[in-house]
């Protein structure tokens, strides 16, 4: 078991399925179990591709709300 910070709330999380995780990593948590370590390189690569996409035409601007975060930062 480890501890994960859910955007300010700290909970016990089972790290049995993510043995590679170290303090400071971000993990995806479901019902108290870390299922995956977030891959920072892949995240950066996806984001870069999106940012480079050409802006075309004009659009309506949707209202984007924010939601409580679901990403958790574990510290062991």
């Amino acid at each position: 078991m480890g501890r994960a910070n859910f955007g300010g709330i700290v909970k016990q999380v089972c790290l049995e399925y993510t043995p590679e995780v170290v303090k400071g990593d971000y993990v995806l948590v479901h019902v108290g179990f870390a299922l995956s370590k977030v891959d920072e390189e892949e995240a950066a690569r996806t984001y870069k591709l999106l940012e480079e996409m050409e802006q075309l035409g004009e659009l309506d601007t949707p209202e984007m709300e924010t939601d409580p975060p679901e990403w958790k930062k574990p510290f062991l």
Partner: protein, 372 residues
């Protein structure tokens, strides 16, 4: 928070919508598989940002919604017993069975408890050695590793008063069932990101090939959904049908092998009945024989159960993407989150609950009509 805020960027979302508008040349119907994706779509109004050629229909990926009525009635029969502490995830409490729901049973004196994780039930079982602690183990592949670990630990640590009522379901057989239906309209899928976190996505490759549909494993934030939609539409417009991964920051092709091994140790594949859909071969998990002592279906005699479904509710058609929530005459009138007729109105992941929560019952729905 990092990895969240950037995937809610309005600027980025607008860029992707513009690109979708640029590439779409004709009508397409896409299905998002997961209830979590449905909620993002309805909450942010993503379906209304898309050009009118692109229709999103909502898939079966809500575990509470597809749990069969028989299984829910079995849960209620077990929960009523005075020697039982019945534990469940919170969103199952209001799901209607034939006669009642778990919250009503609790108000009548049943010991029904909400847990955050199945592991919590082991603590409850140790603290209550004279009671039988039963966990309602529902869910897709995402939840199976957690439930497997609870059973494994109970067996290893000799927690003999802990059992699970298992109603696990699997995504790929349900997608095959949707594609084989004569009512099917789905031409491409936004695949289930968190299911694939556990299982990987190689098992979707035969599906894409056999049914010639693109499947893009997709995340849950607005930018994820829009990017997954764009990737699926690009494939449809180009006439390809491959499995692609929009969500590589979390999902690897092989998935989480450690978790898969654990699931295989505890569960085996079985046929499963889905609420509103019917029985689908090899579409669920049950406990392996060696864990029989922790199998609530064997411990409690709940085989003979008569069920009665609401005759108004169309949740079965909603779950298969054939109808939308607002096509139901009871939506927002007879059927509300306070008085749900079907599970799709109850669960946080149900399509009807999403439409209700974001005010879709109050708004007129644009329909295509021919000018006479």
């Amino acid at each position: 928070m990092k990895f969240l805020d950037e995937y809610r960027s309005e600027e980025l979302a607008n860029k992707i919508v513009a690109e979708i508008r640029r590439i779409v040349t004709r009508p397409w119907v896409l299905m998002e598989v997961c209830g979590g994706q449905t909620h993002t779509i309805v909450k942010y109004g993503i379906d209304r940002l898309l050009p009118q050629e692109v229709e999103l229909v909502h898939g079966p990926g809500c575990p509470v919604c597809v749990t069969s009525l028989e299984m829910i009635d079995k849960a209620h029969a077990i929960a009523r017993r005075p020697d039982v502490i019945f534990c469940s995830f919170g969103d199952m409490l209001r799901v209607p069975g034939s006669e009642s729901d778990l919250l009503v049973l609790k108000s009548r004196g049943a010991d029904v408890r909400v847990v955050y994780s199945p592991i919590d039930c082991l603590k409850i079982a140790r603290a209550n050695p004279t009671k039988k602690v039963v966990f309602f183990a529902i869910g897709f592949e995402t939840t199976a590793p957690a439930n497997a670990m609870a059973v494994w630990q109970a067996a290893r640590q000799g927690v003999r008063n802990f059992s699970v009522l298992v109603s696990h379901v699997l995504v790929p057989p349900a997608m095959a069932a949707i594609l084989q239906s004569p009512l099917n309209r789905v031409q491409g899928f936004l695949g289930p990101g968190h299911v694939c976190t556990v299982m990987g996505y190689h098992e979707y490759e035969p599906l894409a090939e056999r049914f010639r549909v693109p499947i893009v494993i997709t995340g849950f934030e607005p930018v994820d959904i829009l990017q997954g939609t764009l990737m699926t539409l690009l494939q449809l417009e180009n006439g390809t049908h491959e499995v692609e991964n929009q969500y590589p920051r979390v999902v690897a092709r092989e998935g989480n092998v450690v978790a898969q091994d654990f699931v295989q140790k505890v569960f085996e594949v079985c046929d499963r009945k889905w609420r509103g859909v019917g029985s689908i071969p090899a579409s669920g998990y049950r406990l392996r024989e060696e864990f029989a002592e922790h199998d609530a279906e064997r411990l409690f005699d709940v085989r003979e159960i008569n069920t009665e479904e609401s005759n108004i509710c169309i949740s079965g058609l909603v779950l298969r993407g054939v109808k939308k929530p607002h096509n139901c005459p009871a939506f927002g009138t007879l059927c509300t989150p306070e008085h749900p007729l079907g599970a799709t109105m109850v669960s946080a992941e149900g399509a009807c609950a999403a439409y209700y929560a974001y005010g879709r019952h109050l708004q007129p729905h644009p329909e295509v009509a021919a000018v006479a």
